[in-house]
């Protein structure tokens, strides 16, 4: 169902990516049952910390951390391949948030192992990609304290601590606050996929700085998380589409499979085009990240990928429900799980609208002599 060669990487690297995808089956068996996902819906943490620990043991959480720092030292093409597999299986564990952001910022053994769960908290308003809001960190006596409010932190209730972006003077820092510490208030609201998002209110909370004057670095890490989320969406839409193709091939009406009707065949063809555009855009963005491209070029490529994958995943999963007919509108049918996850991931790491806006600002002037 997946196209492991579509990331535009060299042959030997493509082989490694294939192996990585195969190893993902240990946690997310391709085409496997979704009972685990259903069981985790509406639980407090929303994900299984033991499974996150297994991901750590496989080296996935330290994928983006250099060898010498205790990680695996692989690129975005690899992380995207893994994220796509997670999307396929709807795994709710915060692999992308930890592997793309937390572990690179805090490359400590317990973080890379998935034992200590740190989740990034950067957004302060909807539809933004800007990690610098009004949250401030300042020294109070000998103690660094942070004050502000962060929103839309996926799976926040399962975290031990948060990586908070905060202004220190003119620069942007990242500080850790511990979940449940004095001055740290977490409220959560359930999301449609059975998970939740947290809002973090910080009132002179004690914190530890892990990065200072880090604006460009934070921007890069958020971009990388956005591409990986786009890859996860590719996995979600790819499997939703595969389930739908199966259904079109087996459901009989008027004495033949409904997939033999041209109007449905053409709709399926259009969905396939959107999936492959998404996959190509993600592959391109991952390659741009891996090439350490200048920030504007990287941002444009990342926004292309996230905007496309968000819109395409919504389109594909919406149509998947429709093409399943009445059964698609039941909770019993797995296809609905894909729509709900697509809704949440489409809004994570920047909505399509936010990314289109940023693309318009970041893309180079059009070559009018094209």
């Amino acid at each position: 169902m997946t196209a492991p060669d579509a990331m535009g990487v060299a042959d030997d690297r493509a082989d490694g990516i294939r192996l990585l995808r195969d190893s993902a089956a240990a946690i997310v068996p391709r085409g496997g049952p979704l009972g685990r996902i259903r069981a985790l819906r509406d639980t407090e943490a929303g994900f299984d910390r033991a499974v996150l620990g297994e991901m750590g043991a496989f080296g996935w959480l330290g994928l983006r951390v250099a060898d010498e720092a205790g990680g695996v030292g692989l690129g975005m093409a690899e992380l995207c391949a893994l994220a796509e597999e997670m999307g396929h299986g709807l795994a709710p564990e915060p692999l992308v948030a930890v592997a793309a952001i937390a572990a690179p910022l805090v490359p400590e053994e317990d973080v890379i192992a998935g034992v200590r769960v740190l989740l990034p908290a950067w957004a302060e308003r909807p539809h933004t990609l800007d990690p610098a809001g009004t949250t401030m960190a300042a020294i109070d006596g000998a103690t660094l304290r942070v004050t502000g409010r962060k929103i839309a932190i996926p799976m926040a209730a399962g975290a031990d601590g948060f990586l908070v972006t905060a202004r220190e003077g003119d620069a942007l820092s990242v500080v850790i606050v511990e979940n449940g510490a004095p001055g740290v208030t977490l409220t959560v609201e359930a999301t449609v996929d059975g998970g939740h998002m947290g809002t973090l209110t910080l009132e002179a909370a004690r914190c530890v700085r892990v990065a200072e004057d880090a604006g460009p670095r934070i921007a890069r890490l958020l971009d990388e998380a956005a591409v990986a989320t786009a890859a996860e969406l590719v996995g979600v839409m790819d499997r939703a589409f595969a389930l739908t193709l199966d259904y079109l091939g087996t459901r009989q009406q008027f004495g033949k499979p409904i997939g033999s009707f041209q109007v449905l065949q053409h709709r399926a063809a259009d969905l396939k085009i959107q999936i492959e555009l998404s996959r190509a855009a993600v592959g391109h963005a991952a390659a741009v990240c891996d090439a350490s491209a200048p920030a504007a070029q990287r941002s444009a490529a990342v926004s292309l990928a996230k905007a496309r994958a968000s819109d395409a995943a919504m389109l594909v999963t919406r149509q998947a429900i429709h093409l399943h007919g009445g059964i698609g509108y039941t909770d019993e049918a797995d296809i609905g799980l894909f729509l709900r996850r697509a809704m949440v991931l489409a809004a994570s790491c920047g909505t399509a609208a936010a990314h289109r806006r940023r693309y318009a600002a970041a893309a180079p002037p059009l070559d009018l002599d094209a």
């Binding site: 535009g8 079109l248 065949q265 399926a268 063809a269 259009d270 396939k272």
Partner: protein
């Protein structure tokens, strides 16, 4: 300017890609007549002949043909660069059916005598070919074609008609799919025949298209006698040969070039109309530009397959659908924002490149030609997705 050293084919293939690209670019810039760049219409032989002959003189007319037949024998990767540079410059499409279609077919399926007779004349610009495939009642369902060739002694007698024959009035030869066995299953009774356009009984009638241009023709055959030696390959094998020829050229129906050019023109029209900074237009423009960038990424994945020496699969049809419909959306946007100026026959401000009305009208054809987009979607549904009959 054509005095640049004529390279031997082996030298070209040995060049690193970047050097090869620079070499081709410099030569195309120096050799393609400027007035032919980005033509608003498909040009006739009388107009494109200088460019065709410049390519011929340089030995670059047939980058994909094997060297022993007068081509450059370039690797797929180099051929792609070559075509990208031609497209980049906006060089006009020539009367290229000899080079792209019948030449490769003869190289693969023709006899030595046919190759010796026809290939050099194509490379010299002496024979201009046209393609006789579609018929009035055989469009998307091409295999139902009914133009018939009956063997009588040492020649075939051809009766019927062909339509949408591009630039037939420029051509002195036509290659034809003809029915030679009415009893067989429709794909199995078709043969491939070559006929001189001055054969008695051939009548050519230009078709004036929606954009009031005579790019296409109808070609009528009334008891036309064609020597039996002009049959290519075996009788009744024409369909499979024609299909096998749909090689990697198919990818170029999905080349982002057409939409890239159109988007640049859209930006210029927007500037002229004073809407470039209007937020409603800007959002629309951004979406189109993102659609184009994603097309480029998808196109690149197919090109990468060619570079690795792989065959293209039926999924290349995705490119044709997305590119043609994107091009139409861009053209529609330019037409809409041009308002009253969008209905003028003449270009805006006399700038030939800024003619939203003409571009809009011309863009109607891209979802029809090269296998209509419905046919392309059928291919995706059946051959890529495996949906039932």
């Amino acid at each position: 300017m054509n005095e640049m050293i004529r390279s031997e084919p082996g030298d070209l293939d040995a060049l690193p890609d970047d050097a090869f690209r620079a070499h081709v670019r410099a030569w195309v810039q120096a050799s393609c007549p400027p007035e032919l760049r980005h033509p608003p219409k498909r040009l006739h032989w009388s107009e494109t002949k200088p460019w065709y002959m410049a390519l011929a003189k340089q030995g670059w007319l047939a980058p994909g043909w094997p060297r022993e037949h007068g081509g450059l024998g370039l690797s797929p990767a180099k051929q792609i660069i070559f075509i990208e540079e031609i497209e980049r410059h906006g060089a006009p499409r020539t009367n290229d059916m000899g080079v792209t279609m019948i030449g490769p077919l003869l190289i693969r399926y023709g006899t030595d005598a046919q190759r010796e007779r026809f290939l050099p004349r194509i490379l010299a610009g002496e024979d201009i070919w046209c393609q006789g495939y579609s018929e009035p009642n055989a469009g998307s369902d091409l295999a139902s074609l009914r133009t018939e060739a009956v063997l009588e002694g040492d020649h075939y007698v051809v009766n019927g008609s062909k339509i949408w024959t591009t630039l037939a009035d420029d051509a002195n030869w036509i290659f034809l799919l003809v029915r030679t066995d009415r009893a067989a299953k429709k794909q199995d009774g078709i043969s491939f025949l070559l006929a001189p356009m001055d054969s008695p009984g051939i009548i050519v009638r230009p078709i004036v298209t929606l954009d009031r241009h005579d790019e296409f023709c109808e070609v009528f055959f009334d008891n036309v006698h064609v020597p039996a030696g002009n049959l290519v390959g075996e009788p009744n094998k024409g369909w499979s040969m024609a299909k096998a020829l749909l090689g990697f050229e198919r990818i170029f129906l999905g080349s982002p070039k057409q939409s890239t050019y159109a988007l640049a023109k859209l930006a210029q029209v927007a500037e002229h109309m004073g809407v470039a900074d209007d937020p409603v237009f800007a959002d629309r423009f951004t979406r189109l530009r993102m659609d184009l960038d994603d097309l480029k990424a998808l196109y690149e994945t197919q090109v990468a397959k060619l570079r690795r020496g792989e065959e293209l699969g039926p999924d290349v049809s995705m490119l044709k659908v997305w590119q043609s419909e994107l091009y139409q959306r861009i053209a529609e946007t330019a037409f809409e924002i041009a308002g009253e100026e969008g209905v003028m026959l003449n270009p805006i401000g006399g700038n030939r490149a800024l003619n939203p009305a003409a571009a809009f009208i011309q863009s109607r054809v891209v979802s029809i030609y090269g296998g209509s987009n419905e046919i392309q979607r059928n291919i995706i549904a059946k051959n890529v997705l495996g949906l039932p009959g």
